[in-house]
Each structure stands twice: as structure tokens, then as C-alpha cells.
């Protein structure tokens, strides 16, 4: 009986597998395995860890701790009410989006449009694009030089225009640290927006511009009525990728300010790093990771949905 059961069980498993699997699926299995081991399992484990403290289930306690209770909470309600820094890493990430996003989109579009038909425009575009090519860590180091009180270009400019009294290392002051690195990183990301917009501009039919010219439309009107609407899907792509970059920004903050002074320029990814590797608190680090994932995933899903409807 036993001998008969084993082959029949094996053939049943094989039959079922045959039914659900085709050869094409077979070839996908190694990739799926890697995905499970290196992506799905860590994601699942991170979510699981976010509900644990020292191995015990603690419900949402880690989330409450990182959002409101720790020394540098993600949302610092008293400081937000006072308009003082640090307001919390989550708020800082949102400030990144509010300030950095419009500036990079604006400058990216401006460079792409203005340099489209200019002789030597490609060279200038290449220079602007250098910001994207250099490693973010180098970008962060550059900020430290840019804002250096003695050798920095920003303070040299201030002295040049007679505002030497205001010359200082802006990354050292809680009121200016965050804005300093945000403004500095506009240069880093503008190249990306410019290149994508340049590609988008290539896709706009020339006939539209010719027709507008025949109709006597001004360049300004042509820009607003043809260029901007035709670049809508490009803009959505840029916004999506830029916001995702702003949500997960880490290296620039790490190198330029270490999230300081007093946590004034911290961001969620940096807070997660501190919780994991300085506090050895995997539960709260996982809670920040989950929050970050929810934010990025939610935003990405919304934007992809919008794009698919266009």
C-alpha cells in the first residue's frame, strides 16, 4: 500500500504542476526565486519587525514612538506650532518636495526649452547634466565647500555684494540648514528634469509650431498652448521620479549636515539609519521603513494610475 501511495502522490504533484506551469514559467523561476529572497522576504520581514520590540509583539507602539515620542520624532508637533526647527524628518521630507520639486521642474523645463535651438546648447546641457552624473556623496561634500564661511562661493558672493555681515556656514544654523541643502541639490537634479524634457520636446510635432506661427501666435502663447500641454505626460514622469527621489534622499543629508544641527535637516531615510545602526533598534527602524514605503508606494501608485488614464 505504502509503495503504491508514494508514486501516486508524486504523480499528483507533478500533474498539478504541469497544469499550472508552462515552460515559459519555468524559465522565470530563477528570477522569481531571487525576487523572493532579496526583495519580498526582506520587505515582509521589515513589516513584521515593525511590530516587534526586543522580539515581542507591541502592535503600533514602534510607529507611535518614531512619529511622536523619540528624541527627534518624525513629526515634532510643538515645533511645528512654533514654526521652529526641527519640525521632524517627515515634515522635512515634505519640505523637500514643496521646495525642491517646483524648482527642479521649472529649471529643467527652462533649460530644455531655452537651449533647444541654441548653438552650443548641447554643451551647456552636458554641463548642467553633470549634477546627475556625480555621486550624491560628492554632491553633499560640495555643499560643505559651497557654504564654507571662508572659501565658499555663496559667502564670497555675499561679501561681493556688500552683505558680508551675513556670511556664515548656513548648514550650521537650524533655520537655514535644511533650505541650504535643498537649494544646493536643485542643481543636482535639474539635469535630470532637463534631459527628460529635452526628449519630450523632440516628440512634439513641428507642424503644430508651424501652424501656430502661421496663425500669428506669439512665442509665449505657443509655449503655453502647445509646449506645456504636449509635455504633460513628461512632466508627470519627472514629478513622479523626483518626488520618489526626495522621499528617499539620504546621502546628501548624511554627508552635508548629518541631519543637524539638532536634527533640523534630518530626513526619514537618515532617521531610519540612525535607529538601525546607532540605536540598534530594528523595530523602530523598520517602522520608519514601512512609513517610507507606504508614502513612496502610495504616491507612485497614484501617479502611475494618473498616467495610465492619459
Amino acid at each position: 500500500m505504502q509503495q503504491q501511495k508514494i508514486p501516486s502522490l508524486l504523480s499528483l504533484i507533478l500533474k498539478t504542476l504541469r497544469r499550472i506551469l508552462t515552460v515559459s514559467w519555468l524559465f522565470l523561476i530563477p528570477a522569481f526565486l531571487l525576487l523572493i529572497i532579496f526583495v519580498l522576504y526582506p520587505v515582509g520581514d521589515t513589516i513584521y519587525q515593525s511590530f516587534l520590540a526586543k522580539g515581542n509583539f507591541v502592535g503600533l507602539q514602534n510607529f507611535n514612538y518614531v512619529l511622536f515620542e523619540k528624541a527627534f520624532p518624525l513629526i515634532n508637533i510643538p515645533n511645528i506650532q512654533l514654526g521652529a526647527f526641527p519640525m521632524g524628518a517627515l515634515i522635512d521630507n515634505l519640505l523637500w518636495i514643496v521646495i525642491h520639486l517646483p524648482l527642479t521642474v521649472f529649471f529643467g523645463l527652462a533649460f530644455a526649452v531655452l537651449l533647444r535651438d541654441v548653438k552650443g546648447g548641447t554643451i551647456i546641457k552636458s554641463i548642467v547634466f553633470l549634477g546627475v552624473v556625480i555621486p550624491m556623496v560628492v554632491g553633499g561634500l560640495l555643499f560643505r565647500f559651497v557654504y564654507d564661511p571662508d572659501a565658499g562661493v555663496v559667502n564670497a558672493l555675499l561679501r561681493l555684494i556688500g552683505l558680508g555681515n551675513y556670511a556664515r556656514d548656513f548648514t550650521f544654523y537650524p533655520q537655514t540648514a535644511l533650505i541650504s541643502i535643498i537649494l544646493g541639490s536643485v542643481w543636482i537634479w535639474t539635469g535630470f528634469a532637463m534631459i527628460v524634457y529635452s526628449a519630450g520636446l523632440q516628440g512634439i510635432p513641428v507642424e503644430l509650431y508651424e501652424a501656430a506661427e502661421i496663425d500669428g501666435a506669439s512665442r509665449w502663447k505657443t509655449f503655453w498652448r502647445i509646449t506645456v500641454p504636449m509635455l504633460r505626460s513628461t512632466t508627470l514622469v519627472i514629478i513622479t521620479l523626483t518626488v520618489l527621489w526626495e522621499l528617499k534622499v539620504f546621502d546628501i543629508v548624511y554627508v552635508a549636515t548629518l541631519g543637524g544641527p539638532g536634527g533640523a535637516s534630518s530626513v526619514m531615510a537618515y532617521d531610519m539609519y540612525l535607529e538601525a545602526f546607532y540605536s540598534n533598534n530594528l523595530g523602530s527602524a523598520s517602522a520608519i521603513a514601512v512609513l517610507l514605503t507606504v508614502l513612496t508606494f502610495g504616491f507612485a501608485a497614484y501617479m502611475v494610475n494618473r498616467m495610465s488614464k492619459m
Binding site: R18, A71, F172, P174, P261, G262, F277, Y278
Partner: protein, 427 residues
């Protein structure tokens, strides 16, 4: 069953076996089972690897001691200089995931070492604990009596350093009371034409500011205050009046503009030497810095009236799975001994931890530091942030940066430090 479906069944069966084997191997690797099977590589002439924080002149000095070790034992030593952040973060990750290339790590954080102790080799049989002055040099020991680190170097933070010629040319005198310091010396330095600030403020990840703060805490609150803060909120809170008072004195000087804006700690030494600052709170390693072109022109004075001085110790630790465990133990034994430390002491900017290091080996200025630390009534206290360590240490560093530029936020700083201390040390 057709031949084709039989082949397909076989293919599926083979694939299942591969999946099972791959899963097994993955689980085996993820669980770190292979740690137990690490084979120590053998070489005809052993070569070991050391990680530490030193660069520049301090690295060159250390390499002299290592060179002597190689001569004596025939063991080559490769040195890798790490930044504070890299050593704090990446070394624990390496030690938790062997194999790794490092045999000896030198670090100044007792808390960090104790946290890493499951991944370290005990040095009980490597060092002679009786050779270290027990009053201020404690090997990192756990409750079971295991010693996890060998004290190698002592860095005293004796006080404010200054150029003798600068003081002489401007008619400045060393203060003996805090009133003289705040009412006479600082205003006098500030009034000198071309001076940027009376006191230089050094920056790295934060530690030079922490040393200055410790100077104020002990100078105005006593050495016991620092010891209590190291014990944690169960004994002393950061929001207590005993802490707030000395911190208020510090912020009062910050508000008066006596301190410079923090900048790279080494470039600040250059500025001190060039007469852009009058005084600079630094450790005894100051004299080994290349910016000090003439060591006989540099001197220091302790915080007026203080009864405590911070002492930071650099410890040598051996990772449990060091590729050359025997040779690593030899090196640590050598570094904790008098021979290596005498070589280091003779080069300057280094205070030995071993009692057999002769006082005659010290340069005059280093001997002055040793005498200051050993004088009657003075207590050498472990460095505050190195002792507490962990997330509190980074919080302390970043909060002090905030305090230096926004001294009016003292309350917020103390509250944050208290919250971080409770998080880490409990109540």
C-alpha cells in the same frame, strides 16, 4: 504517458530538486552557519590588518610602533584609517558577517565595544590588567569579568590651548578663576584687532564641541556631575539645575560671541596658530598636529578651578573570527605593553596607559599634561559621550551644534538630551 510529458515530468522534478538545494544553501548562508567552518588562511610570512581612526601625523606615529612590532616578530601589519562614522557603523556590520579581513580594531568607545562583545575575542589572557592605573584606565570589562579591550592610548582633555607668544605679545595672562576667565581674558582677546573669536570651536562629527562642554560641566559642576551623567537618568537628569547651571554659563559665553562658529577642527588649529583665535579646547593630541610648527610655543591651562579632567582611551580589540587570531593577540599584547607605548610617547601627543611607561619618555609639554592630570585633587573621568555612546552620542553631537549657533535653545537641547538618555539608559 507520451515521451514528451515524461520528459516534462523529469524536467519539473529536476527543477524542484534544484530549488530545494538552492533554498537549503540560501538558508544555510543566511543563518551564518558557515561561520563555524571558517578556515584561517596560512601564509609563510603572516600579515595582519588593523583599523583605527588616525590619519596624518598620528597615523605616521602609530606606524612607527607597528614597524617596531614587525621588526620584533616578523609579522607585517597593514593599517587602514577610518572616519569616525565609518568605524562606528561599518565595522560592527563586518564583524557580524564574517569572513572579514580585519585582525585588530582600535576605537575609543567602551559602550560600542561592550555591544560588540559577542563578536570579539576576550583579551583576559592577552593583557596584564594590573599594569593599568585602575583609578582612570579601565579595560572594558563585562559583569562576568571578561575583558574585551586593551587600553592603548590615553588622550587627556586638559583644557584651553594657546600660543605662548600670542599671550605674551598681547599682555594676556592665564586665568586662575572663572571670573578672571570671563571678565578679563575673554574680553581682552575679543578686543584684539583682527581676532575672529576668542575661543575656537572645532567640528568633526561633533566631538570637539562635546569636549568643551564636558570642560564646562566638570569645571562648574564638579567631576562627580559628569560621572552621574554617565550613569544616566537614574542618578542625574539633563534637565536638573545642577546641569542647567554650567550649561547656562556656557550659553552665556556663546551668546556673547566669545566662541567661533564651528569649523573643521584641524583648520581651526591653523587659525589658532595664525592668531585668529586666542584659545582652543583640545585634547593632548594637539601637540602631535602638524599645524603646531613649534611645540615649545604651545601651552594649555585647565578650566579655572576644575577638579576633573576628561580622559578618552583608545582601545585595541580583536574580532572573534580574526583571520590571524594568534598574530592579532601578539599585536594587542604589544600595543598594551610599555615598549609600544614608549615609542608612541616619545613622538609626542600620546599619553600611555601602561604604568611601566617611564615619565622621562614624555616630551615636556606632554609631561605637563600628565602632571596636570595626576595632580592632587584632580580626577580623571571617562569621556562623557564615548562612555554613553550609541544613539545618545550622535544626539549629543548634533544638539551641541544647535546650541553653538542657537544658544537661546538651551531648554530644548537639554530636553532632547534627557529624552535620548531615557531612551538609551532608562530611568
Amino acid at each position: 504517458m507520451s515521451t514528451r510529458s515524461t520528459m516534462f515530468d523529469w524536467l519539473l522534478a529536476i527543477l524542484l530538486i534544484i530549488v530545494i538545494i538552492m533554498s537549503g544553501v540560501t538558508i544555510y548562508l543566511l543563518n551564518g552557519v558557515y561561520q563555524a567552518t571558517i578556515v584561517t588562511p596560512t601564509a609563510t610570512r603572516p600579515s595582519i590588518t588593523v583599523y583605527a581612526l588616525w590619519s596624518g601625523q598620528e597615523e605616521a606615529n602609530f606606524k612607527q610602533a607597528l614597524g617596531n612590532f614587525t621588526q620584533e616578530t616578523g609579522i607585517d601589519v597593514s593599517y587602514y584609517g577610518y572616519t569616525t562614522q565609518d568605524l562606528l557603523i561599518s565595522v560592527p556590520l563586518q564583524l557580524k558577517a564574517p569572513p572579514y579581513p580585519v585582525d585588530v580594531v582600535i576605537a575609543p568607545w567602551p559602550y560600542w565595544i561592550l555591544q560588540l562583545s559577542p563578536y570579539l575575542e576576550s583579551v583576559n589572557d592577552v593583557i596584564n590588567a594590573s599594569k593599568f592605573p585602575s583609578s582612570f584606565v579601565n579595560p572594558v570589562k563585562d559583569s562576568s569579568g571578561s575583558i574585551w579591550a586593551a587600553p592603548f592610548k590615553l588622550s587627556g582633555k586638559p583644557g584651553f590651548w594657546y600660543r605662548k607668544s600670542f599671550f605674551t605679545s598681547h599682555g594676556l595672562t592665564v586665568p586662575t578663576t572663572y571670573q578672571q576667565f570671563t571678565n578679563t581674558l575673554l574680553p581682552a582677546i575679543k578686543a584684539i584687532p583682527g581676532i575672529e573669536a576668542a575661543i575656537a570651536s572645532g567640528d568633526t562629527v561633533g566631538w570637539p564641541l562635546s569636549d568643551t562642554t564636558e570642560g564646562f560641566l566638570m569645571g562648574l559642576g564638579g567631576y562627580q556631575l559628569q560621572l552621574d551623567l554617565e550613569t544616566g537618568p537614574s542618578v542625574r537628569n539633563w534637565t536638573d539645575t545642577e546641569v542647567r547651571d554650567p550649561m547656562s554659563s556656557l550659553t552665556s559665553l556663546l551668546t556673547s560671541g566669545y566662541f567661533s562658529t564651528p569649523a573643521d577642527w584641524q583648520s581651526q588649529i591653523t587659525k589658532l596658530w595664525n592668531g585668529q583665535y586666542g584659545i582652543y579646547w583640545q585634547g593632548s593630541f594637539m601637540t602631535a598636529q602638524p599645524q603646531i610648527q613649534n611645540v615649545s610655543d604651545i601651552d594649555f591651562f585647565g578650566f579655572p578651578g576644575t577638579d576633573g579632567v576628561s580622559g578618552s582611551i583608545d582601545y585595541a580589540v580583536i574580532p572573534k573570527y580574526a583571520p590571524h587570531l594568534t598574530e592579532a593577540k601578539q599585536l594587542v599584547q604589544y600595543l598594551s605593553g610599555a615598549d609600544a607605548q614608549t615609542i608612541m610617547v616619545k613622538q609626542g601627543g600620546f599619553l600611555g596607559t601602561n604604568i611601566d611607561v617611564s615619565v622621562t619618555a614624555y616630551k615636556p609639554i606632554d609631561k605637563e599634561v600628565v602632571d596636570f592630570m595626576g595632580k592632587s585633587g584632580m580626577h580623571v573621568v571617562p569621556d562623557l559621550d564615548d562612555t554613553i555612546g550609541g544613539a545618545w552620542q550622535t544626539t549629543f553631537w548634533t544638539e551641541l551644534k544647535l546650541l553653538w549657533t542657537s544658544p537661546n535653545q538651551l531648554n530644548q537641547v537639554l530636553n532632547t538630551l534627557e529624552t535620548a538618555a531615557i531612551d538609551q539608559q532608562g530611568t
